[in-house]
Symmetry: D3
Subunit: 243 residues, 6 copies
């Protein structure tokens, strides 16, 4: 099985880190391929960047249409997820979506822990229709730069926050690039299951690909057909045409 | 990997059918084991039977604690799901829960199609916090007996209903024992993805078991400990004691 | 009028205390009868115990079918309430349900105050569809044992908590066996109405019995009929058969 | 026990009919008193009339403050309910509120059946926070005049509608003056419990008065105190002053 | 364009202040007229007063029917808004409604800041169906009297609160007479947009009047017609008759 | 006042039609400017096209930053609205958002009427947090091509649909390019107010610009600053840098 791990920003190092995390989670027969957009934000941290990155991510995915069994969106905002799900002929999984759905199988209420603003992740949980399952979204007052400069301090804060979230949550999703990979490292010291978006997305992508479900033939997730556009990449334009 | 497929009613034939469906969906290395409760309703179709079957199902699961990697509840009401998730040391997945969560990965809104009353499945979707993702629950005016007596007629009605549900849904969960196994058979003629609870539950159980997440150590999903009870099966009493 | 006060755990002393509270609230012509399950948890404090107690409670209720005018479930989790309501030929009232509905008649928002975890009571309020009326669920960090060992200290903490809840609530439901009977004792010193589940349930049971409403003849609350089962008590099996 | 049945419109015949219905439902020791506003709409059927009647109803209630044990608002819009609950020193119960809360004790989902527009009753159910418990609000295309001119025809339509509502509801609240008294008459031919607002309100008023709960001393349901106003009736002005 | 600014209490000084604020916000061609009820509460701070003021406000508005292009309700509780909207032949705008809808155009989540109880404003936001857009309602523990006695201190507290609300809100509505006029004065020192109800209502009233939309001819917002009433002002009675 | 009317697709004729509609609605002193993206879909009718158009629209808007007083997004999907609101230094209004918020001022429940799928507009209403105010979304089974070929037939269908929607709605938003301009033409024959997105958006843009509210300085609607990106238009890149 071939799973594409598609970054939505243009930073190659983040793609590489996500590919590594995906490989660690993948089943023996699963091949992980990485991809990085050719244009767009270096890192996504505003609404405007996220909207721009949606186009970049769709263009990136389009290059792989027909050659992969599933795609994982390696961006914690689940950028362009619904559009990608419509566009691509294979399953597409968002990493935060995957972690939240997995959390639904682990307990009643899950928490989301990130660095910086909590608001956008509250919106994301609501966009996925999972607000009723989400006990808390917490944004630690820490920049990604600070977390990288002092990883032990950041780990301590994450553990303490997860501990406090146990009052309302049965598991905690670690969201955002700066916390990537932390789940596995901190799990032995945590009172709650810690969920990593990439790992969850890879397992759900394998599960979904194995189920071999067809795309819907009608409605807003049916594949585009006969759509005309100006100035798009050949691969993206072709998918819109349904070619 | 060993996955228990636990029926909640006392009808062995249903257990056997579910085990067969689970084996068809399982990955090469997965072993499927079936279990049937020693007491309780022959078939669950009322609230009272469902409440009684919860006890029977927990007693059945308790016999396998420590010897399996995950349990799938082979009952479309997801009977005792939250209690079983707390009680057992391994992941526990409900079949309708699994189909609904899988449907979230396939499109925006899913439908649930069953025979008889729609109300209990609307409650079930709400219990899982997924009402916002569910476009329609439809109960066909057909008894399980009629469906078994005239399988072609039933299949035709299911296909026609799924077609009509496409106006509001991107996929359709087939719920209830009488529709078990139909998804795969009807998929080639259906305009939407048809989701089978047992197949989805087996794939999610494999995924969850592979993630090797611990149980929460606090809250209402932490394992029971030191609980005393009267007249329960030795295995169930032992799990409540935390022995 | 004969009202059954049915405990869901196997501890006779709790049944006796609930019967006494019910007698204090009952109208002159009301006779209160107590019942205790023959099997199940000594005290319910986990999801698994609650699921097991549901069966035990239904079996207990079944012994009284046809001989009582209403049943009050003397368990703050409203264990098996919907199943019992379907099963029994008379009105069935849950004690926390009763307190919450009474609170709706007293003000806009009610609070729920308990010892230990707040989460299960938030779920219970949601199960009753009353989340919009519930301003706060508060769990005091106190075990039942501590409350019993130091009743004056516990009373002080309950009063202080109710005082603080007045910022968001117009009344407070005291939930859980450890707070039973406290409402009447503390009311003179409390700024808000304090609601006792047993007292509210007895008054609502009397009201409902007086209205002499029939059971629905269709839907998921219609009485079971013709249901077969294995290994149940004769009285419970008879009710399922509709005999 | 003295219960005031307060009409909100100025039509004496409606007051008399409601008093009769209340007397039929009341317990032996309960005395029912009727009251009709001195000003305001003859019948309430618009938002503007309802807002005006709120003042008229509060002025009417104020005349009885201190002389009654509870008040029932004999108006299916539950006009001024929250304001009356704050203003009066005794329990105040709305008739549609009472029927809806009683319906919560009878099954899972209730319906509301009325003549004319359904919308205002949907708003009313939402104002009471009970939307999650309400399966359907249905407005029959029939004017009160038509119903009075052809009572058998109207009864037939109500029965047929209740029958159809059984697909989504476990009981049906009959709302609006034109359906008053019908519940008891039609119950023997109905498949579902039919709930009459006045009867339910009287029983809940008796129950609440027996519980002898105090008013909250703070918050938006605490009694007004020291409020100045211009041109109000002496009794109403006195209650606002807290005299 | 003539816009009526209708106070709902009987205090002329508040009417004058609101008229001045409206004039400051009005477009060059807009004429602002003030009106004060002839009866009712001096200031509205309880549910009962609000219900009484509804009648007084409708009577006040009725005097101007046909002579104005729009009406702004100069009362932060949006008293009688829906009834007035039905009753009057011109657009009617509530000041808190206007501020909340304007806030929806400025960011994702808005806050509401007031003196005293937060609860009634939470209810108001819910009544407008805007709960999902409201990040926080905060009531400062300050009486209007204290705010008037120490305006600099109050301003400091409002600024500090708005600063703190920035964690969950993109703008802040200042609600209640005591904060009227503060928005413009404090805006230069505030991190978030501060919204003034009167200013927003005047701009929306101008916009709505310019759109020249007709009233609905059916439903619960269609103008009353042929309604009889007792003891109302001639102008109000005439509007109910549809004369 | 200068208001930009920014199309999100690349079809100049649609821009021209929207500019004309905007000019018809604008106040005397308002100048309307049109803009069309340089790349992207010819018409937006799929999720993928909408995601791509978001980038194209932001790039278009960026060309006008600092030279306009407000921007109206001339696309019924409110494409990139939140991102544009964050990005631009002036107010940004979506046309469907504007019509829905205006509808909130006109009655209680509004309807949305479009050609084709209703689902995406239900999602849009939910994204704006206005689901509680929306009584119905109706998609007529008519393609834009059919509507253009037979305008009288389409007008008749729209009028008939609006008539039927009056059972649940107090006004109707006409959504989608194919219905643009119809509101004014059909209003004289319609029983309900018909709302045109462009007209509403222009009036709200004028109102909002007149209020001169600042942007929030923190949170997810604060202007981007110091953001790096690859391959974007100079104007867009400059706004992300905060230059």
């Amino acid at each position: 099985m071939r799973i594409l791990v598609a970054n939505a920003n243009t930073t190659q190092a983040i793609t590489a880190a996500c590919v590594a995390a995906a490989q660690a989670a993948a089943a023996p027969g699963t091949e992980i391929i990485g991809a990085t957009p050719a244009f767009g934000p270096a890192v996504i941290s505003t609404r405007a960047e996220n909207a721009i990155a949606a186009h970049a991510l769709l263009a990136t995915l389009a290059e792989y249409a027909g050659t992969i069994d599933a795609a994982v969106l390696a961006v914690s905002h689940d950028t362009a997820l619904e559009a990608a799900r419509q566009l691509m002929p294979c399953p597409v999984i968002g990493m935060t979506e995957a972690a939240c759905l997995t959390a639904c199988l682990v307990g009643g209420q899950f928490g989301v822990l990130t660095l910086g603003q909590a608001g956008p992740y509250e919106e994301l949980v609501a966009r996925h229709g999972l607000t009723a399952r989400c006990g808390q979204v917490l944004g630690l007052p820490l920049t990604p730069q600070q977390a990288i400069a002092n990883p032990d301090g950041a780990a301590g804060q994450v553990l303490a926050a997860a501990e406090a979230m146990a009052a309302r949550c049965d598991s905690v999703v670690l969201a955002g690039a700066a916390l990537a990979g932390m789940a596995a490292a901190l799990q032995p010291r945590a009172a709650l299951p810690l969920l990593d978006g990439i790992a969850c997305a890879v397992k759900l992508a394998e599960a979904l690909a194995a189920l071999r479900l067809p795309k819907p033939r009608s409605g807003s997730y049916a594949a585009p057909e006969g759509r005309a556009a100006l100035g798009l990449s050949p691969a993206l334009a072709a998918l819109l045409r349904g070619a």
